[in-house]
């Protein structure tokens, strides 16, 4: 049996019919053609498929597409500007060599995107905690943490350095 779902993905409305058992990640990838969301384990541990649903990070492999009916969904394809300009976090990932094979990268970016919306100037422990549910086999995480801290430092500077934290 097919179910009608509607969702706003990266600002664009989509409507489709989908089987109840299709995961949100599979739906984004194969029904909508948004293949930037990657599947690494399909049991909710690796975090590669992390997307934002109504502003909150979810595992695209554990949520069904029908559960996201009516939701606002954000994926890695929506991070860069309409002109293709990379977001500060994407820029920082490239500058700090925070990706090697790049397979986990979309999930890392979306997880950190959520963190920075809630906490624009996280400390290193908060960054580590935030990405502790995202597996990366290539980088050893150090460069990812460096990239996130670069963004945090930039945010801190932009905020006027008024918090005075060392």
């Amino acid at each position: 049996m097919m179910h009608r779902v509607e969702m706003l993905v990266n600002g664009t409305p989509h409507a489709a019919s989908v089987e109840a058992r299709v995961s949100l990640a599979d739906f984004l990838r194969h029904a909508l053609g948004l293949r930037g969301t990657h599947l690494g384990c399909e049991h909710g541990v690796c975090g590669a498929c992390t997307v934002l649903v109504d502003g909150v990070s979810v595992r695209g492999c554990l949520m069904l597409a029908v559960q996201a009916d009516g939701a606002i969904v954000e994926t890695v394809e929506g991070l860069a500007g309409p002109d293709g300009r990379l977001s500060p976090l994407q820029e920082a990932f490239s500058a700090e060599h925070a990706l090697q094979c790049g397979y986990c990268t979309p999930g890392m970016l979306m997880t950190l995107e959520e963190l920075f919306r809630e906490t624009p100037t996280p400390d290193e422990a908060e960054v580590r905690e935030a990405i502790s549910g995202n597996l990366c086999r290539c980088t050893g995480y150090q460069s990812i943490i460096r990239a996130a801290m670069r963004v945090a430092d930039d945010n801190r500077r932009r905020a006027g350095g008024s918090d005075g934290a060392a």
Binding site: C46, L79, Q90, Q100, C101, G102, C104, P106, R128, T139
Partner: protein, 794 residues
């Protein structure tokens, strides 16, 4: 114009990686991202038992399910196969053996996860539904689950076609080992168990067989060795070689398991030929655990003979290597292990006896490090044993035994698999160790440790050295072409899997041609572009493909100068390449590479410049049989909570010397990523099986990979000893971070627990095992010091 540095403009700098933009924006193309019209989806029926006879498979219900196009057994695939058995991969001889796997198993299964049937359907969901409807009539057969018991006279063979489980027995060694032991001041022994688990790239394997109009087949596969896949498929399938092409799309990590030609890579193309349809199969993580190659178990029984001052006289032992149910490749892995044990040390006499045995488990081949981490762990643990028993500082024992710099090049009296003698080409191991010890504060650690102990805290420090033969030959293909628009194309047999090889090759090419790296596009892993190639393994591609591209780009540069000399009527000596032009020195005259490419492409019937060959392009297969040796020395600090068996790595300082550095960030990233893989091997990663060889760890909840919260601050010191053995001076770096890491970390854990007097002889070391060791030691001697009176309570 200021004279440009003829050496390096891009090489040696961390230029932006060419790979990054698509990967950051979700527009890269991994295997499952490729969409083809009319593609059908596949699932495999896999054995639920570790050893069973297949009495029959009833496929009728599965075939009747709506949406199912076909269900294939091996027999069904045979019309398009020359053999139902896989050829020996990565081998000079090839051919099937009595230990190569089957494309699908029709009569007997020998491990949980072995593919028995292939379902083709409109979606993966339906294909899995149908696989569940296959009624397989299996009769369980006796199982051999432990490599140590596999050789017992009454051990059942892992497959009934074998008489016993011994795949191979061999010895390596040199020197008078008996005399070395007879004259020793001390002989110490230990039994080590080493388990390395799985590769677990975040992207699993996957195959997409594209059926093309006219009957051609393009096989897309997430592999580290597309050319080998091509050659083996061409030998297996009933298809003309010209109708076959193998392409590797973006690969989401390799780490060894993708350096193998798998049954699925034969079955999917065969089914596509039969159905005349494009077919896709994407491994899910459970299938990775059940069917991608692993390294798993080695059991080492070792003896070391030393002088009174800790100088090594000899090392000998026996090693049992768990090969799993099949051998898809020659047994290079245990050979790597035993020929690299002596590592950076002078060991006058050495002897190892090796038994490679079958078990009813997933086949074994290389995972990042490929036998070297076990070798380093063995050697370093034995040296720690010497140090602890003789009361000599662990670093000092190593210093007394390291190969001195003035003995380079140093011959190891062992043979590489090419037959060439192992010769360490360059490096200063004692200086490397001294540098990292100074950076890590080795000498001041005992005072810090004593202070911590006084507070009831158990901190420890450990070190380990490693040497890795890199740049394995015999060659890698690299060709360079200047296009009509002045852009540059590099084609290579080197295979990208995240290392940034495209960027590094572009840097090398860019410098030779006087263009920017962004002007260079690198295509690897396409057998239509590079019919020759070996692919990604053994930390080899920077050395081999880098050298080929360097030489090819230089040849193109010479050709550009020669052509410009004719066209401009200027002697070649007055010409230089810069900014996409050939310029006349001390003049404003120049000609673009684009124009030279257009001239050299020829025009129909018109004159061609005198004395020149068509095409602004060159291809080189730089040859080598020698390895070039990278080295590393790591120091780890840990804190252990004895009551919990909990280990926290608190600091890590690593020195790495991988020769000339092309891209500093990439080299650093390889080292750091490698160390964290080694951290996983030291403390977490365990592919468990029960006595019936049923896998116990088939999710990332049970099989633990390191996460960001376990990684300590890592400091990497880079030394740069150029390799004399190749034209770019590079050595490999992909595995050097992993090799000594477990040895350094567990040395630190043992050191932290000195008051308990425990000995660590295994990887991984999970908390429950460490807790057990501490408990057992505590029962022997209540050595735990009481906290001092004035310890501040938290």
């Amino acid at each position: 114009m200021a004279p440009r540095d003829p050496q390096a403009r891009a090489v040696g700098r961390s230029v932006p990686r060419l790979e990054d933009p698509p990967l950051l924006t979700g527009t890269a193309r991994f295997l499952d991202d490729i969409e083809l019209p009319g593609v059908l989806h596949c699932a495999f029926l896999r054995s639920p038992l570790a050893h069973a006879r297949i009495e029959g498979m009833d496929l009728s219900e599965a075939r009747a399910l709506p949406g199912v196009h076909a269900v294939f057994t091996l027999e069904d695939l045979m019309p398009v196969l020359r053999s139902g058995r896989m050829p020996l991969g990565a081998s000079p001889v090839g051919g099937e053996t009595r230990s190569t796997p089957f494309v699908l198993s029709g009569r007997e299964v020998a491990y949980v996860g072995e593919p028995m049937a292939l379902v083709v359907a409109v979606s993966r969901h339906v294909a899995e539904d149908a696989a569940a409807l296959v009624r397989a009539d299996l009769t369980p057969l006796p199982v051999v689950a432990d490599a140590r018991r596999a050789l017992a006279p009454d051990a059942p063979p892992c497959r009934t076609e074998l008489e016993n489980n011994l795949l191979n027995r061999f010895e390596v060694g040199y020197g008078d080992i008996d005399a070395a032991f007879a004259g020793a001041a001390h002989v110490l022994s230990d039994d080590l168990w080493q388990h390395r688990g799985c590769g677990h790239s975040m992207e699993g394997r996957g195959v997409l067989a594209e059926h093309r109009p006219g009957g051609g087949l393009c096989v897309w596969t997430s592999t580290q060795m597309p050319n080998d896949v091509f050659h083996m498929l061409a030998g297996m399938l009933r298809i003309a070689p010209d109708d076959l092409r193998v392409v590797t799309p973006d690969v989401g990590g390799g780490f060894g398991p993708k350096y193998c030609f798998y049954p699925e890579e034969a079955a999917i193309p065969a089914a596509a030929l039969l159905l005349r349809r494009s077919l896709k199969w994407v491994e899910d993580r459970r299938e990775t655990f059940l069917s991608s190659i692993q390294e798993r178990d080695q059991f080492w029984s070792m003896e070391i003979a030393v002088e009174a001052d800790g100088t090594v006289r000899g090392l000998r032992g026996r090693m049992i290597h768990d090969q799993g149910a099949y051998a898809p490749k020659p047994v290079n892995l245990p050979y790597n292990s035993v020929t690299s044990v002596t590592g950076p040390y002078v060991v006058p006499a050495y002897h190892m006896q090796v038994e490679v045995v079958h078990t009813n488990k997933v086949p074994v081949s290389s995972v990042r490090g490929a036998g070297y981490p076990q070798a380093a762990f063995t050697m370093e643990r034995m040296l720690d044993l010497v140090a602890v028993r003789l009361g000599i500082d662990r670093a000092e024992v190593r210093r007394r035994n390291l190969i001195p710099a003035d003995r380079m090049p140093y011959e190891k009296k062992l043979k590489a698999r090419s037959g060439a003698t192992l010769v360490y080409d360059s490096g200063d191991y004692p200086a490397a160790q001294a540098e990292v010890l100074a950076a890590a504060g080795w000498d001041s650690f005992p005072a810090r440790q004593a202070a911590a102990l006084a507070e009831g805290r158990y901190i420890g420090i450990g070190l380990a050295n490693a040497v890795k033969g890199t740049g394995r030959g015999p060659f890698e293909a690299g060709s360079v072409r200047v296009n009509q628009d002045g852009s540059v194309s590099v084609f290579t047999g080197a295979t990208a899997m995240g290392q940034g090889i495209a960027t590094a090759l572009a840097q090398i090419c860019a410098d030779a041609l006087g263009v920017a790296p962004e002007a260079v596009r690198v295509t690897g892993g396409d057998t239509a572009r590079s019919p020759l190639g070996l692919g990604g393994f053994a930390s080899r591609q920077m050395v081999t493909a880098g050298s080929s591209v360097h030489l090819a780009a230089q040849a193109v540069a010479r050709k550009a100068r020669a052509t410009a000399s004719v066209l401009l009527s200027v002697p070649e000596a007055e010409l230089e390449l810069d900014g996409g032009f050939v310029r006349v020195r001390n003049s404003n005259r120049s000609i673009g590479l684009d124009e030279l490419a257009r001239v050299l492409r020829g025009a129909p019937g018109y004159a061609f410049p005198e004395g020149l060959e068509p095409g602004l392009a060159a291809g080189i297969e730089w040859r080598t049989d020698a390895l070039t040796y990278a080295n590393a020395c790591h120091v780890a600090e840990v804190e252990v909570v004895p009551e919990l068996g909990e280990v926290t790595v608190t600091r890590y300082v690593a020195l790495n010397d991988s020769g000339r550095i092309i891209h500093p960030q990439i080299v650093d990233g390889q080292v750091v990523g490698g160390i964290v893989h080694g951290l996983g091997n030291a403390l977490f990663e365990y592919m468990g099986y029960d006595d019936a060889a049923q896998p116990l760890t088939t999710t990332f909840q049970e099989y633990l990979l390191v996460t960001a919260t376990e990684v300590p601050p890592l400091e990497v010191i880079h030394r740069e000893t150029p390799s004399p053995g190749n034209p770019i001076g590079a050595k490999g770096v992909g595995e050097t971070g992993t090799i000594p890491a477990a040895a350094a970390i567990l040395s630190a854990v043992e050191n932290a627990l000195t008051p308990f007097g425990i000995r660590i002889s295994q990887t991984p070391l999970p908390p429950e095992t460490l807790f057990g060791l501490i408990e057992a030691a505590s029962r022997r001697a209540p050595a735990r010091p009481a906290p001092t009176e004035d310890t501040p309570q938290p």
